[in-house]
């Protein structure tokens, strides 16, 4: 089989082919968040649903945008990103939640990632650890402009992507603060489970990628969960759609 065939056939996991998605794809981990996206669009059609991969493609103010859930963690996310690129994605924007680790970040604020700590192993199968997990600057700029327009407070910086949620979370075994302190000291803003592999795979293939994350309280605070996640997630998805529109306006949707 030639590589052309690989790119034109229906992809194994996302269950889509060329033409099914817009050049800009928002990727949450959570399949239900794709429904939030669909509700915010003027028209949106479910294109595919298989395993944790649910996709809607639709239009907002005349601009086509897609949203595909890629599941939790880097292994399914890497599959999703790889297949989305094969069928024509040019901009990939993660819309997710995170575990805040800096005390100055408040619920209702958002993080725009400029890069990610590669604390996972998926991206290392693609390229050695020296390679930087970096967000594309054009996506970062589009997300900044979207947040400014929508009056959403945001922080710019790096996040730590890792694999084992139950080693670095409030419910973790043992002293999770001991594990987190070095990252806090290195100015890492928050934890997540996907960004670094999205950034590495995309930049290696010349595709633009970025991430916007919804924040709660720092995970070591007693009221860590005291946050209106639902409202803030809707804001984040709205910002993702706005960023997709800005990318199209700037000639960056092809």
């Amino acid at each position: 089989m030639t590589s052309q065939d690989v790119h034109s056939e229906i992809q194994h996991h996302v269950d889509m082919k060329k033409g099914d998605i817009a050049p800009t794809v928002l990727i949450p981990g959570e399949p239900q968040r794709v429904e939030v996206f669909a509700a915010l669009m003027e028209e949106a059609t479910k294109v595919a649903e298989k395993r944790e991969y649910v996709t809607y493609t639709g239009k907002k103010d005349g601009v086509a945008v897609s949203c595909t859930s890629t599941g939790l963690g880097c292994p399914p996310t890497a599959i999703g990103v790889e297949e989305l690129i094969r069928i024509g994605a040019k901009n990939i924007i993660r819309i997710g939640t995170c575990g805040v680790i800096q005390p100055f970040i408040k619920p209702g604020e958002f993080i725009i990632a400029t890069g990610a700590v590669r604390g996972e192993h998926t991206s290392e199968e693609f390229i050695n650890m020296e390679y930087p997990a970096m967000a594309d600057y054009r996506i970062v700029r589009a997300l900044i402009d979207a947040c400014e327009k929508l009056d959403m407070p945001y922080h710019l910086g790096i996040v730590r992507t890792h694999d084992a949620y139950y080693l670095e979370s409030p419910e973790a075994q043992g002293n999770f603060m001991e594990r987190l302190q070095p990252w806090i000291d290195m100015s890492v803003l928050a934890l997540d489970n996907e960004s670094s592999s999205i950034f590495v795979i995309s930049s290696m293939q010349g595709i633009r990628a970025g991430a916007i994350l919804t924040c709660g309280n720092p995970i070591y605070m007693p009221d860590a969960d005291n946050c209106d996640w639902e409202t803030n997630i809707v804001k984040m998805v709205t910002a993702g759609i706005e960023a997709a529109k800005l990318l199209a306006e700037r000639g960056l949707a092809e």
């Binding site: 945001y154 922080h155 100015s187 930049s203 290696m204």
Partner: protein
């Protein structure tokens, strides 16, 4: 506070923004682009000039070659008040489509150096400060100078990864060429994570003076000098934009 061990400077001797060439002679060239400048210190390969540019206090400190020397300079410069760094240097192009000479604005760096590993686990990313990088792109656009934003391969051994190497350097380069990395250089992968972890800004602009895939290609000394002169002007304009950004009320909270 006593003078810093290596750079021989005291608080107040430098501006918030310091340009970092490797080459000690390039420091004087950079200072020549300031509106006014005077020599502040000179010890080992570290020479510092401080002056003003468009009303802003600016400095240049030569670092010498490589991560070890850059890390010393950056640590000591932070102690005397520096908060923003723009490296102005040279490197070898990895991609054969890059003109020689051409200017590369670093977005991030491959951490092939040893110094940053002593500070930070390898999984920590070497990413340029977004606003510093973007300010250089704006400056280049205003000045109508072509620049190429992209990833720098930071590493230690010049005679393993350059057109002057005796070993098969293209074999070592291959993964980075395939991943779209633009240029090799010895300092940025140390500078970026160190600045970020310390809550400072850092960016890099490099002149590609030769190309690994086209070793016979030679640029004239004059063309290289002109390109580096453009890089200096772009870095100075970026310093002004950063200064203005930091003194305006914006919603962004930078750590």
């Amino acid at each position: 506070m006593e003078k810093q061990h290596h750079i021989d400077l005291l608080p107040g001797d430098v501006g918030e923004i310091v340009f970092l060439p490797g080459d000690i002679n390039r420091a004087a060239v950079i200072a020549g682009h300031f509106d006014e400048a005077s020599l502040v210190a000179h010890k080992r390969q570290y020479i510092t000039y401080t002056g003003t540019y468009q009303g802003i206090k600016v400095s240049v400190t030569s670092t010498g070659i490589g991560g070890p020397a850059v890390a010393i300079a950056v640590e000591e410069l932070i102690k005397v008040g520096a908060r923003k760094f723009i490296r102005i240097g040279t490197g070898g192009a990895l991609q054969k489509w890059l003109p020689i000479p051409s200017l590369i604005v670093g977005t991030a760096a491959v951490r092939g150096d040893g110094t940053s590993r002593e500070y930070f686990p390898l999984e920590y990313p070497a990413v340029a400060d977004f606003f510093t990088m973007e300010a250089m792109l704006h400056a280049a656009q205003k000045r109508k100078v072509d620049v190429y934003p992209g990833i720098i391969r930071g590493h230690d051994a010049f005679y393993a990864e350059s057109i002057f190497a005796d070993v098969d350097y293209l074999k070592l380069d291959r993964p980075w060429i395939d991943a779209g990395v633009l240029i090799t250089s010895n300092e940025s992968s140390t500078l970026f994570p160190l600045a970020m972890a310390r809550g400072c800004r850092a960016g890099t602009i490099l002149c590609a003076v030769d190309c690994h895939q086209r070793p016979g290609l030679e640029a004239s000394a004059q063309a290289i000098d002109e390109s580096i002169s453009n890089a200096i002007d772009i870095a100075l304009d970026a310093a002004v934009e950063l200064y203005q950004m930091e003194h305006q009320n914006t919603k962004v909270k930078v750590v």
